[in-house]
Symmetry: C2
Subunit: 386 residues, 2 copies
């Protein structure tokens, strides 16, 4: 039985606690909770769980000897320092996404994790989705052939002004470090690098506070180029309703689309380069079979519960992680590169991106901020929102 | 009865001739045909239409007194000079798309047309599609509210190497002036400006001869910004099979998608800004009704035949044109701006775009060309390809 300590009793911390209380984590128990706001800890009483130890200081919880695994569910900037501190106390770590707000601090976290033998996972719950797992299998098995173009329209992260106003830390450079790239889309950005690998360079465009009273981005279009010539466009917004979630891959074997959580593969019977080489008539087009491809067989769409159980299995049995903590830097680098490109109106090369330049520009944004938040604190019900 | 003269008996000239011979143009007759290759004129005999006068020189046909309307169906560079010459002989003009290869020459054509009272139309046959006509009506009636984002993935213009090799003029800067922007996509670029108006500025990315042995573009991604804040992404390729044709519009009233020639409008019951202003809970989302919207009532998808009949009605009865010739410059400017942005890796502002700079860069491409064409001449059957 792994003893879990959660840091942060906001939206996500409460959601994870509920899953544990509901018996969905058979080999884990909620041993302790930490929140620097003592009032939030009263929620445990309301839930009838006074047996859970409470702390208002993370280090006190870390050194209490009460927990084996810390689940970090606080604003993004605090993920790396809290993980680094946890490693120093020999704890296993599962952090909410994103890995951090900027690559420089995430790199330090990764370096700390590599000095321990403890488990380090990230809450990339969408990696459990059998539809994306199937796509990853198709790519890795060569079913698609070479990928030529990726277009992901992911605009169904609808957020109202009330949402932004509901937390003091939300939607500000100083306390959140970004908008949709850092809060809503880390899932899709992680899936992007998990499925397709890291692009070589990015040119991006963003709207900051375009449709909401916030200072961070609520609209993004990013164009990416890969070393092998593949291109990608990532289009996102948090102010479209109902919005769209449509991933399209143009590849040598045809066009594959994921929409409404279904895979449709418009598949040629021969690879396109071969068809082209053998064509003899000007307007010739290939036969295409429209295939509905089922999700990964036997895989459960277990989301947050699946990731937490997987981390516990990794601790107890050495099971491989679905989402390794050290991989989180990839998505953070992509998000940082998109910011940097939008700010400077220049290409950003992922390999040579200057992490200090990004950090310094972010500090400038924080220093020069004139944003005034109309705070209206709420703990939100997150059911069905991630 | 309007007497039509066609210039160019290639793919399109033959297709238009067949439509006239088949009686689809009730108030038009094919009076004359011109092609500078006398062999191509023999096709009229094969078709049993020896009554049609033939010419190998356009000006001879223009001054023959045999025709009232010239239908120009030759490579793009020749559209403006042949139209200008036709106006000088007092003829009505219908030109194949695009209006020309570069804005400078199209501007001269427009100036010449404005000095005459003759009819000047362009073969933007996709404007007859009742689906796009309905969309235009919805936009103009304010059904969508303000448009926030347009994304058009138009990659179903599949072309093999054989196609590029089938005409001596194809796919070279010198003789075609561009690739998919100038040959396949002028339809979608025209619809774009017809539906949404002209963007303020464009940043574009293109692959030139990326997947085919050609020197012009076979892959394009263009990001556009509008004066009112709307953004657009235009994604095109001629080497994807089967490819995609999906137009999505995110607007204040919801998301509208045209795919498979069907309009789906995921429509909110109140405009998004109003919903946002009245929301009281963090993750609140609006009610959405998924509406299937029928094509424009009573409108026929008459394509090339419809445009030709419309031009004849304009000549005989003053009927308004579906596609006015002078509007063609808009699409040419967008195509030129995309080239220019991709070549220079800079933003291009549509209002202040330097048409001479574009022309000079195009001449550089022509001068520095090392492209060797593997010519394999064919007249292609174009049925179902435009």
């Amino acid at each position: 039985m792994v003893r879990i300590g959660i840091i942060g009793l906001g939206n996500m911390g409460r959601s994870h606690s509920r899953n544990i209380f509901a018996g969905k984590i058979p080999n884990g128990k909620l041993a302790a909770v930490c929140d620097n706001d003592p009032k939030k800890l009263e929620w445990l009483k309301e839930m009838g769980h006074e047996e859970v130890k409470t702390f208002t200081d993370a280090e006190e919880m870390y050194k209490s000897g009460e927990i084996d695994l810390v689940l970090i569910a606080v604003p993004h900037y605090f993920h790396p320092p809290l993980a680094i501190l946890a490693f120093s106390y020999g704890l296993n770590v599962l952090s909410e996404k994103p890995a951090g707000a900027y690559a420089k601090q995430v790199r330090e976290m990764n370096e700390a994790s590599e000095k321990t033998d403890k488990v380090f996972g990230l809450m990339f719950n969408q990696r459990t989705n059998p539809v994306y797992r199937k796509l990853r299998q198709l790519i890795q098995n060569g079913e698609l052939g070479k990928i030529k173009r990726i277009t992901w329209i992911i605009t169904d992260w609808y957020r109202t002004q009330v949402y932004h106003d509901s937390g003091a830390w939300r939607s500000m450079w100083k306390t959140e470090g970004g908008g949709l790239l850092i809060n809503q889309c880390p899932h899709q950005i992680d899936l992007w690098q998990w499925l397709f690998g890291m692009p070589k360079r990015i040119k991006a465009f963003a709207g900051f506070g375009k449709y909401r009273n916030i200072e961070v981005e609520d609209e993004v279009t990013a164009y990416m180029e890969y070393e092998n010539g593949a291109i990608g466009t990532f289009i996102s917004s948090t102010t479209e309703a109902p919005g769209t979630n449509r991933l399209e891959i143009a590849c040598e074997m045809g066009n594959l689309i994921i929409e409404n959580n279904e895979i449709t593969f418009k598949r040629m019977t021969v690879p396109e380069p071969e068809f082209n080489a053998n064509a003899t008539i000007g307007f010739q087009t290939p036969d295409v079979w429209e295939c509905k491809i089922p999700p990964l067989r036997g895989a459960e769409n277990s989301q947050h519960v699946g990731i937490l159980n997987n981390v516990i299995d990794a601790i107890e049995k050495g099971t491989p992680l679905l989402a390794k903590g050290t991989e989180g830097i990839n998505g953070v680098k992509i998000a940082n590169a998109i910011h940097l490109s939008a700010w400077t109106d220049k290409w950003v090369d992922l390999d040579t991106m200057d992490e200090d330049e990004y950090y310094n520009m972010l500090q400038e944004k924080i220093k020069n901020s004139t944003y005034v938040k109309n705070l209206n604190e709420q703990v939100n019900d997150t059911t069905g929102t991630y």
